[in-house]
């Protein structure tokens, strides 16, 4: 292939990518439209909890499954082996105890329910019609959306949420939840697989 043609091809590809990327990040509606194309996500998660009291963050590892519209399975392998299931509007947590998983009743705490419920909304790109958060686009590389709580209940424990997107349009690469007292939680998603079929039973029970 002649050099000039190769260069032209690369330029066209770059332009197409820029158009694609700039198009989907134009406004919250475009973002939601793009993200609606993501029907399922499977990813490894690293959670880093920054606390003022600790010199280094507390690190947790696990695996994350999402199925549109609002099903989540969040499986922590360390330091506490546990599984959070969000399905059909119900949030459940199971913790490993000796020989098997048992249900953890503390997931009924309002703050935990709110966070888990919000995460599935964020993965759907529901920033414009989100009654709990106001979303503002922060252009740049990486592209981000900053969410600030609307209601006092959430303001009581979350100051701001920063959602960072990967180079693949519509795919979240990290979520930072900024709380009070110098505290924040960073969730990093690695090895993301999109739109791979996930059996519904994985969102219904721990097995």
């Amino acid at each position: 292939m002649p050099k000039a043609l190769k260069k032209a091809g690369m330029l066209v590809a770059a332009c197409l990518f820029c158009m694609l990327v700039s198009g989907w990040t134009e406004d919250l509606k475009s973002i939601q439209k793009t993200m609606s194309g993501v029907q399922s996500i499977s990813a490894d998660v690293v959670q880093k909890k920054h606390l003022k009291i600790l010199s280094k963050p507390l690190s947790s590892q696990g695996h994350f499954l999402y199925q549109a519209p609002d099903s989540l399975r969040w499986e922590y392998s360390s330091p506490i082996k546990s599984i959070v299931l969000v399905h059909a509007g119900i949030v459940k947590r199971y913790v490993w105890k000796e020989n098997g998983f048992i249900e953890d009743t503390s997931v009924k705490l309002e703050a935990v329910r709110i966070v888990m419920g919000q995460i599935s909304k964020w993965f759907q790109g529901r920033f414009e019609d989100n009654t709990d958060f106001t979303g503002v686009i922060k252009p740049g590389d990486p592209f981000r959306i900053v969410l600030t709580p609307r209601n006092d209940t959430i303001k009581g424990f979350i100051t701001e949420v920063v959602i960072t997107f990967s180079q693949t349009p519509g795919v979240v690469s990290a979520i930072e939840i900024i709380e009070q007292q110098g505290t924040s939680t960073v969730l990093e998603f690695h090895g993301v697989v999109l739109n791979h079929p996930i059996p519904e039973r994985l969102f219904e029970n721990v097995q």
Binding site: V95, K108, G156
Partner: protein, 218 residues
């Protein structure tokens, strides 16, 4: 309301205990042995330390909950900071205690309930700070381990050293309010495993597994 009380019960403490072999009651008339007293007090950290625990709570009505607890101890200053997090990292409770003063930084409902705060404070003091009041008994047993007792006029606290240290709080001669078993002692004054059983209506058991430690800077 019942659900609220149930969840509040979940959080009515932070401490460690674990039932082991029975502990003989030191007699108030027993001779005080300073060496035994020192050995009983050696189960508590003597220098500042910060600990991260996995906390499992076994609750009434077959309830069960897991948390992450961060505790910062300044024994000489009688100061403790405590942060309770959900497994997902949501800060549920953040407070500092020094002497009789309590400063609550974060307390999400229902952990802002006064009963919870007092229960937590009581559990933490029970586990990490030496008893208040005067020593009423301290002796070295035939097996070489020590038993000691303190009384503040209202409550009696007993300590037994051994392969597993045991702490018991008694509000009356025959009554047991709290019992802690501390296992696998470490050089920094902490124990790798602890369990605390709080007796009575709405009683619960908390087990603590030490995940990591740090030395506080101040």
């Amino acid at each position: 309301m019942r659900g609220y009380l149930y969840i509040a019960t979940i959080f009515c403490g932070l401490a460690l205990v674990h039932c082991a072999h029975p502990m003989p009651h030191p007699q108030d008339t027993a001779t005080l042995n300073p060496e035994a007293t020192m050995r009983c007090l050696s189960i508590y950290p003597s220098t500042p330390v910060r600990a991260v625990h996995k906390i499992d709570a076994t609750l009434p009505y077959n309830g069960y909950a897991s948390f992450i607890g961060v505790t910062e101890l300044f024994p000489l200053a009688n100061r403790i900071k405590v942060v309770l997090l959900s497994v997902e990292g949501v800060v549920l409770f953040d407070a500092e205690f020094q002497g009789s003063e309590t400063k609550i930084n974060i307390a999400l409902s229902p952990l802002n309930h006064e009963d919870f705060i007092q229960g937590l404070l009581g559990d933490i003091r029970f586990l990490f700070l030496p008893p208040t009041g005067r020593v009423t008994a301290s002796q070295v047993r035939e097996d070489g381990h020590c038993v000691c007792a303190w009384s503040d006029g209202v409550r009696k606290t007993e300590i037994q050293t051994g392969p597993k240290a045991v702490i018991r709080a008694r509000p009356g001669p025959k009554r047991l309010a709290r019992e802690a078993v501390l296992d696998h002692p470490r050089p920094d004054g902490l124990f790798s495993e602890m369990s605390l059983t709080v007796k009575g209506v709405g009683g619960y058991t908390l087990t603590f597994e030490l995940l990591e430690t740090e030395k506080p800077s101040d």
